[in-house]
């Protein structure tokens, strides 16, 4: 019994091993929320991935191998993410995972990444301090965002008192907690901090609290599109006109919000209006490839694009797709993309970024008001 089972197991292991190594393509796994809350931004992420892969293949692939994109739906949640990562790593046998995820999904998936020993480039801004041997992050963390927004409001708008509104989840709380500390450190005062459940849409009580606190400025950090829209509309209809910094709105949503977003200050590492040749080429190529189907590129889809190029650079530097070598190489390479040149740090596993502060115009477009070069990611991880 024991012997046969061993033989069987060995046979199956050999079989599955052979299928993995027989591939002469490089598979990039993109687990992303095609359904659920993230499905608002997921299409833009898939589009930028497709562009990157097309470009790389057109230029001869990576180390001569063709690159293949494998997209899987994670349902925007932890349970779905586990399924998606399991499927990508163990069923599809991808060489690398590059994607944005909710924090819950990322956390749920990390043990699988560890088990599967696959490099993972996380391309979503998040609340920070998530560390894993196999993971690199190329998007912003609160340390980078808060300073830009708070400094601008304090200096240009003379805001001394701030009111913070968030969705009650890890990202909302994480970002606002850091923001609060930053405000207090820089001499400002937080006069109120209120949260609504992620799926909440009635901001009445919070707006009442806001009015009675009468702050100089408002900063919000909500969960994705719907709460942003309902909060924006209700603020507007309640006649709240103080400077408003929004830490969680992408360009597409800002456009959707129409007049409710006009005048809002946003910050990020990517805006479509960034003026550099890489971004212009990127936007032109996206437009050419997707035409009317194009989803507005944003601070999630562009890091995704950058992430794929970072992987390419790392594999080429390492000379193979061997996970350990790739992880080592990822800390050594730098890539220049629409967001400028980005070099991820091998110790902190995050990247210093150039941050932009912009204001939403009446037509929904973003106008960059100020640029903050090479904002440090602060203390994140400490790998050697």
């Amino acid at each position: 019994m024991k012997l046969t089972s061993l033989a069987l197991a060995a046979g199956i292991a050999a079989l599955s091993a052979s299928t993995v190594f027989a591939e002469d393509t490089i598979k990039i796994g993109v687990p992303v929320g095609l359904s659920g809350a993230n499905s608002v931004v997921a299409p833009s992420v898939v589009q930028s991935s497709e562009l990157a892969v097309d470009e790389i293949n057109a230029a001869g692939g990576i180390l001569g191998k063709k690159v293949e994109l494998v997209v899987a739906d994670d349902g925007s949640g932890a349970v779905g993410a586990q399924k998606a990562f399991d499927s990508l790593i163990f069923d599809k046998g991808v060489n690398v995972l590059i994607s944005m995820e909710t924090s819950a999904a990322r956390n749920a998936a990390l043990p699988i990444v560890t088990r599967g020993k696959v490099p993972y480039i996380y391309t979503s801004f998040y609340e920070g301090h998530s560390c894993n041997k196999w993971m690199y992050v190329n998007a912003w963390v609160p340390e980078q965002l808060s300073s830009a927004l708070v400094d601008y409001l304090a200096q240009e708008k003379q805001a001394k008192t701030f009111f913070l509104i968030g969705s009650d989840y890890a990202f909302g709380r994480g970002v606002l907690d850091y923001t609060k500390k930053y405000i207090e450190k820089t001499g400002g005062k937080v006069v109120g901090e209120e949260y609504l459940p992620m799926d909440g849409s009635d901001w009445t009580a919070i707006i009442s609290a806001l009015r009675s606190a009468n702050p100089d400025a408002l900063i919000s950090c909500t969960a994705g599109g719907a709460p942003n829209v309902s909060l924006g509309k209700q603020l507007k209809s309640a006649g709240v006109n103080i400077p408003y910094g929004n830490m969680a709105v992408d360009e597409g949503t800002a456009k959707d919000m129409g007049s409710a977003a006009a005048g809002m200050y946003v910050s990020g590492s990517y805006m479509t209006s960034i003026d550099n040749p890489e971004n212009k080429k990127f936007l032109a190529d996206m437009k050419a490839k997707f035409g009317d189907e194009l989803k507005t590129p944003n601070d999630l889809s562009v890091p995704q694009y950058d992430g794929i190029y970072a992987y390419k650079a790392a594999v080429e530097k390492a000379g193979s797709t061997d996970p350990k070598a790739v992880i080592k190489a990822l800390g050594e390479i730098s890539v220049t993309g629409p967001r400028g040149t980005i070099k991820m740090d091998p110790v902190s596993r995050h990247a210093p970024l150039t941050m932009y502060l912009a204001q939403v115009q009446d037509d929904g477009s973003l106008k960059v008001l100020k640029t903050f070069e090479n904002v440090s990611e602060g203390k994140q991880c400490s790998f050697k």
């Binding site: 687990p31 349970v79 956390n107």
Partner: protein, 579 residues
Amino acid sequence: MYNRTLKKALPIPALICLALIVLGPYVCSMYLVNLLIKAFFFTVAAIAVDILWGYTGYLTFGQSAFFGIGAYCAGLVFTHLGFTDGNIALALALALVLPAALSFFVGWLSFYRGASEFFPCVISLVVPIVVMQLVLSGGEFTGSSSGLTGFDTFEFDMDGWFWLSGGFMLAVAMAAHFFLQSDGGKVLVAIRDNEQRCAYLGLNPERIKILLMTVLGAVTGLAGFGYASFSGVVAPELTGFQFGTELIMWVALSGRATLWGPVLGTLLINVATGYLSSSIPFVWQLILGLSFILVIILLPKGLIPLIFRQLGKASPMAPELQAAQISAPYSGAHALDMQKVAKSYGSLSVLSDITLTGDQGELIGIIGPNGAGKTTLMRCMSDGTARTSGLVSLCGHDIGKAAPQKCVGFGLGRKFQNANIFQTLTVAQCLRMARFIVEKPSFLQESSVLKLPQYVLDVLKVTGLDGKLSAVASDLSHGEQQALELTMVLALEPKVVLLDEPTAGLTLPERRGIGKIFSDLAHKYSLCCLLVEHDLDFVKEVATRIVVLHHGTIVMQGTPEEVVNSELVQTIYAGARQE
């Protein structure tokens, strides 16, 4: 040999599961093994939903909350206290106790006398929402929306996890299988079919449901603990309402009220979802939604029973009947004593100033036109909350505000006007339910012997029901159903028997036989029988005393001759004025 008995103990789907669990790691890909391990834990939760909803009739959206709490017990303890032997024991204990305690509380909140049909369902909706919200607002402690991750957990390899989770699932399924097949387990279906009848058999449906919920809460919590330990992750959505409805969908699609349907169905759906949903998310959701609607409307029994036909059907067995020892008759004063009982709805008085006693050995006929208050009178005798004022005592116990099951405990048996039985149980199972409080049934197996008092055996014989012990109650004729209810009431060995039109729908020979039995009940077995009847001929034959009720009061009582020949009765009851 795979004979009938073995088939019953170990049905084909169980064999399929067993084969899968033993061979799984050798034949399945790593990915499939991974999917199945999680599916095994989900299946346990689905079994709990199936037992609660399919068998007991309690539609719950909230089982996910208990699963989630079990998972969080593991996550929280291992994250904040560390992974040590002591903490494993602590986490395990918490994963059993907390969900059980919350289930108990939810059960207590949901099940009480007079709750509307929707109420438990409403509560089950609120529970996961509240639990999830608490988790979300738990900040660093619960990890809020990110959940907890990266905690140390058991270091089994995949195969070990597979066998462990599969074994756990199969153990739960087999335990449920034996329980549901046992005589005692049929009480769940009895509750689903007819809670009122359960109460009037002396059972406490609310208490049984709360107990069931508590046990299943603990089992579900354990499954959650296993899931968290395996995946190394806990997330708020595990506690959520969305997951709760998914459990219902799995059970509904695969076949509620069949144990193995949801077992196989949940595994299949989870595997299919694992392969399909990541490539066609929207269409997959649409397919699930549409098939869910179609199944609910057209195939309420679900899809799996279409494949395994025997799943949905009970395997009817006719036990051997034996005479049981009958408990001693009541020997105190007045078996039934009603003093100045009145009942009114607001200003409308239905009964007033009813003073009536009944002794052992008496057979009292209660007659009166429709609307005279006969049925209300019966209710006042059998349910402490029914009357507005006055005293009622049964066998020397003041019933106060006692619930029907309490009154039954005092020695009461009540037969309703319409056959009030368990529609989906067999005759033998119905009778065994009726014997529940006299002789606790086995919760592990189906007994081959059914002991009943002699007079019950007599009624079964007269009505021919003794030849139909394995027939399902709903397949019986109207008269047979009436007779079945009568035998169920008598199987309680009551001291005071209330009979509301027991002979309606019976044929003439059957009536004669029943009449003889009623006489025996009173005279030979010294019971106190109260008989509401329209058929004056019948009452006259059997009763020792007749009480005439009119406009909510007792207008006359006396021997059958006195009553039948009185002018008053001719006028108000027979409805004819002599001209």
